[in-house]
Symmetry: C3
Subunit: 184 residues, 3 copies
């Protein structure tokens, strides 16, 4: 069969009306009730707003006011965790983050993709799972279907497309194992 | 000859007055007439605005309202294509994009460079050419003088500095061939 | 000893009150007196504002209005240098930049880290040193404790975690030597 690739002339992918309405309401609440409350003292308030939109968030977790969240109802974060400034949580699919885990500033969690083997290029909503006691350092990229094991460290600016084994340190683009985190 | 490197004490590179005036007018129109119209229903309007500033844009193409465009008159996009949210189209040189091509969110198309072998470090306005039926995935970087062949796929967060052969899949920084896209 | 990793249940890292007050005042001045003055003609004014907050800046240096600076008092830039649009100067530790050096747009200078070998994950304020006649190209990432030698060129989108030797050209993530810059 010959190479034909995309034919996007009938591309009309669309989320459900329910999803669209949910996101419009979330956008308004984000700008009015979440984004302006950027002091540390409001971290409980910000979690409360997210939980009102279906997020599951543990206690003592801090999600910065500048974090972008596509769909709070697809977000689950444990306790004592931290999501830093300007993290982009692009959770068209589910994103689950454990306890005592730190996601540093500007990291991009991208939980969806497209199937480029099909001419109509369908969106695929997938997932990202990040375990307990993980550190994802600044400006990293975590792609869809990635599982990051407990205690792993993902280096700054690295781009992760495959699962990361527990208690390993990875870095680079594409990310590779640099060393074991060791025990302490 | 000894290493002397840059001497920027007389650096006064500047675009032409005509270019500067054009960009000032474009900036105003961008903020008033382009950026606020971010619903899908306004995609034709956004293309119309860009075409008024000299862009060549085919039919049924969607350029998101949050796309940054340095100079619309250096932009050419085919039909049935899509340029996603927050793409940065830094087209001091020409950027040409084909039909049925998708440029995903946050991608940075950087069509110019500097000649670092000269002490006065001159700006070089070059080009980027992206073929038909290409997918450039999220947050990629495409450098100056790059040609991306028909049907190629550029992985998320990858950084492309060399030409990409048609119907190949590339990824990483620097981007390398991962596999052939195959036929379907 | 078993793997226990982070225990962030008592995490309460905080900068000194003096630092916090300084940054609040700087934030106000940034938005009122620095960020709006984005014409080239105001480059001296912008340097003056930064110097008022303790920065050391030489003459004929241009720091774009869209540059983000965490703490001006931790910034030192020489003469005839340029820091481009949207550079993020995350200088919780000191960042020092030489003469005739160009830092291109969107580059992220990240001078601090965390010690992930300790359960309480302490912040470590480190430094970045960039020599004379260096070019850091667009959207690069420079990590903590990095020294970039005189005359080096750091490629676009590259991520630098180790020292860069003088008069070399590096690129990629992680950045590696591509070639010598040579003499001219």
């Amino acid at each position: 069969m010959e190479n034909r690739g995309f034919d996007l002339s009938n591309y009309n992918f669309s989320f459900s009306l329910r999803n669209k309405i949910g996101r419009v309401i979330w956008s308004f609440c984000y700008f009015l009730l979440f984004r302006p409350f950027n002091l540390e003292t409001f971290k409980g308030w910000r979690s409360f707003i997210l939980k009102s939109f279906g997020a599951k968030i543990g206690h003592n977790t801090s999600i910065q006011a500048s974090v972008r969240i596509w769909a709070p109802w697809n977000l689950e974060v444990g306790s004592f965790s931290s999501i830093g400034p300007k993290v982009d949580c692009y959770n068209q699919g589910k994103i689950k983050i454990g306890d005592h885990t730190v996601i540093s500033q500007k990291t991009y969690l991208c939980a969806s993709s497209h199937d480029y083997t099909l001419p109509d290029f369908p969106l695929i909503c997938q997932y990202i799972t990040i375990g307990n006691k993980v550190w994802v350092a600044a400006d990293a990229f975590i792609g869809p279907t990635v599982n990051i094991g407990e205690g792993a460290v993902v280096g700054a600016r690295s781009a992760v497309f495959k699962d990361v084994a527990p208690w390993t340190v990875v870095g680079g683009n594409p990310a590779k194992i640099i060393k074991n985190r060791g025990t302490f």
